[in-house]
């Protein structure tokens, strides 16, 4: 019996409607039952919840909808539960007490749509800051994007840890290094951290609302700018969702090129993270070496695509430019980069002052990682064997061989090793894609996107990235973006426990979290 049948059998008449499009099955259910059903799918069928989002459908049937997306990698399928919420009674039962990873999604929906998760353990605001007036919800359709709500008085209450010798250290939003803005509130007793609370969304730019207000061809550029160093992953995910809606088959050559771009992006990001870790333990030689390697990849990117960050290459229907003519150059550069990278890793792992700082530091245990649905290399370093390139294959990944690197230790060292090994796998993938590059077109022409909705999914350097898009009248009606960092940020509150304050930067770097992708 497959999962859908099990759900139907378990909840028979409570499943009001079933519809299927592509590999997505939508089950409309009663909102009173949502906790039970999510609990069943999550704990009994063992499927992770990968996204929760709302839509404002008051124009169609006078209600809001909330969607709970579960991923089933066994069949490359998605199960989506959908509940309906009236405007007059904008409340629904919270599932956070059963499924911890729902926490931020429900708070996000509360801010953006004004739908209240009842029984949520932490109903504070998330995206709308305390100076945001009550009752104003940006993603509601009757909120105009140009509105400038007045600033009001308000206070954000942090969790407090009290006791003899307990001090608070507030850090940010403007940090000492060149990193993005966010706030960290540490409670320390001497050097060890006994509590950390993060406060983000300083870089909230209203991206999801913007998608509803720009033309479809401009939207790809916006996707590229949600989390700048994961440009390709975001663009590809966006395009895939659109292509699914339009029922387009992408030319094989374009899929190969997309794979190459995605892996180039992974390589420079992973090397940058390793450079960051070396910097933060004050191992300047290693950092300089790694930063030079990263620059080598960025310069290769520029020679091949015209953009150091590989921007402007993807478009709905395929890719804009060919890179086949640069095959030899890419292969040669990568072989040199890989050789130097191996040397660097040997060097790092034989440097006691570095290893001392990263082994057993910043542990994220497997059950915590699972509970929070930690994704990407960070999840894999904590024993979660999950990779979208294999689980929900896209682009040309089905055709190639690669290993999914998993480690159990869950510390900074494990995350470093997972990334290092992934760099080598990425080089292998690019080689395979270049050697087997098919002839043919780069893109299919698209004039108009039909009305519809679909999910796009991709394994960005930071982990699984998800888009859910609904189109209508050749415009985007709703675009939900779920960056991997939105899943991973909360794990830092656990990773730092019992570690000392000076190790915080290393732990933070090893988690490689995007603020912009998270805040949107």
């Amino acid at each position: 019996m497959n999962s859908i049948e099990s759900i139907k059998k378990e909840f028979n008449t409570n499943v009001l409607e079933v519809s299927t499009s592509h590999n997505e099955t939508y089950l409309t259910v009663k909102k009173e039952l949502i906790v039970k059903m999510c609990d069943y799918i999550y704990h009994h069928l063992n499927l992770p919840i990968v996204c929760i989002f709302a839509t404002d459908e008051r124009k169609i049937d006078g209600s809001f909808k909330i969607h709970y997306v579960f991923s089933e990698v066994k069949d490359d399928a998605f199960i989506i539960l959908r509940i309906s919420i009236d405007e007059e009674n904008p409340k629904y039962p919270s599932i956070t007490n059963k499924i911890a990873s729902a926490n931020w999604y429900e708070r996000e929906i509360q801010d953006m749509f004004g739908l209240v998760p009842q029984g949520h353990p932490d109903p504070r605001r998330l995206m709308n800051f305390e100076d945001w007036p009550a009752g104003v919800h940006p993603l509601r359709k009757d909120f105009d994007i140009k509105t400038k709500p007045p600033r009001v008085d308000g206070e954000y209450i942090y969790r407090r840890v009290e006791g003899e010798g307990v001090y608070e250290i507030p850090v940010g939003p403007v940090h000492a290094g060149v990193i993005e803005p966010g706030h960290f509130r540490f409670s320390v007793a001497g050097e060890p951290i006994i509590n950390l609370e993060i406060r983000h969304f300083y870089t909230h730019k209203g991206v999801e609302k913007l998608f509803e207000n720009i033309s479809i061809d401009k939207a790809v550029f916006l996707a590229e700018r949600i989390s700048g160093d994961n440009s390709v992953a975001h663009a590809v995910t966006f395009c895939q969702a659109m292509e699914k809606i339009a029922g387009l088959n992408i030319p094989p050559r374009a899929n190969h090129i997309r794979t190459i771009l995605l892996e180039l992006e992974r390589i420079y990001n992973h090397i940058a993270d390793i450079a960051g870790i070396a910097t933060d333990v004050a191992f300047s030689f290693g950092a300089a070496h790694a930063n030079k390697l990263k620059e080598d990849v960025l310069q290769l990117n520029e020679r091949v695509t015209g953009s150091r960050l590989l921007r402007g290459m993807n478009t709905i229907g395929g890719v804009r430019r060919d890179i086949g003519g640069r095959k030899d150059e890419i292969l040669l550069s990568l072989s040199i980069i890989q050789r130097d990278f191996r040397k660097l890793m040997e060097h790092l792992s034989s440097t006691p002052s570095l290893m001392d700082r990263i082994e057993t530091t910043g542990r994220i245990y497997n059950d915590i990682a699972k509970g929070l649905h930690v994704v990407g290399p960070v999840g894999r370093a904590s024993g979660i064997d999950r990779d979208m390139r294999r689980g929900h294959p896209y682009a040309a990944y089905k055709e190639f061989n690669f290993k999914v690197i998993v480690s159990k230790a869950g510390d900074v060292h494990a995350r470093t090793i997972v990334r290092a090994d992934e760099v080598c796998e990425s080089v292998g993938l690019i080689e395979q894609a270049l050697w087997s590059l098919p002839e043919g077109d780069l893109r299919v022409k698209v004039d108009k996107i039909p009305d519809g909705h679909a999910l796009g999914i991709c394994e960005a350097p930071r982990g699984e990235t998800i888009y859910w898009i609904r189109t209508s009248g050749n415009k985007i009606e709703r675009c939900k973006v779920r960056d991997p960092s939105f899943c991973n940020w909360l794990s830092i509150e656990y990773a730092v426990l019992d570690n000392i304050v000076p190790d915080f930067p290393i732990i933070n770097k090893s988690l490689s979290l995007s603020y912009s992708g998270n805040d949107m």
Partner: protein
Amino acid sequence: MTVEDEIEIMGQRLNDKIRNIFGRSLHIREVDAGSCNACEVEVNALSNPIYDIERFGLHIVASPRHADMLLVTGPVTRNMELALLKTYNATPSPKLVAAMGSCACNGGIFGDTYASCGGVDKIIPVDVYIPGCPPRPQAVIFGLMVALDKLEQKIRKKEV
């Protein structure tokens, strides 16, 4: 000409300017006022061994109180507006402000919305605009030279 040669030539010119105006080095504080983080990738690249701007007397410092110049990226988000203003006020005069990237110049693709105030000059005075999305490291160095020229003019006119 390789990237290395390009940087060598630009860097020497920059170094001369810094010596003329400041008689020492130029201290820069980078402020992310809501960028997509790609501008930060390029600011960080400035310190890698290829560009290595430190050798021309440019330092990226940890606090606005040590800075001669703010290098601001991103459209200013509603949530960062206050932090940017505070950072500006904490920077000693005479100070320069460079808006780096299309977003910082005029809001870029994020424009002027409920969440974004638009360009940096909506909040604090800007001396030089460095376009690009993100600007290449070479463009940032060039932008810094223009900013220094501007400061030189100001000093001559006794405006600062």
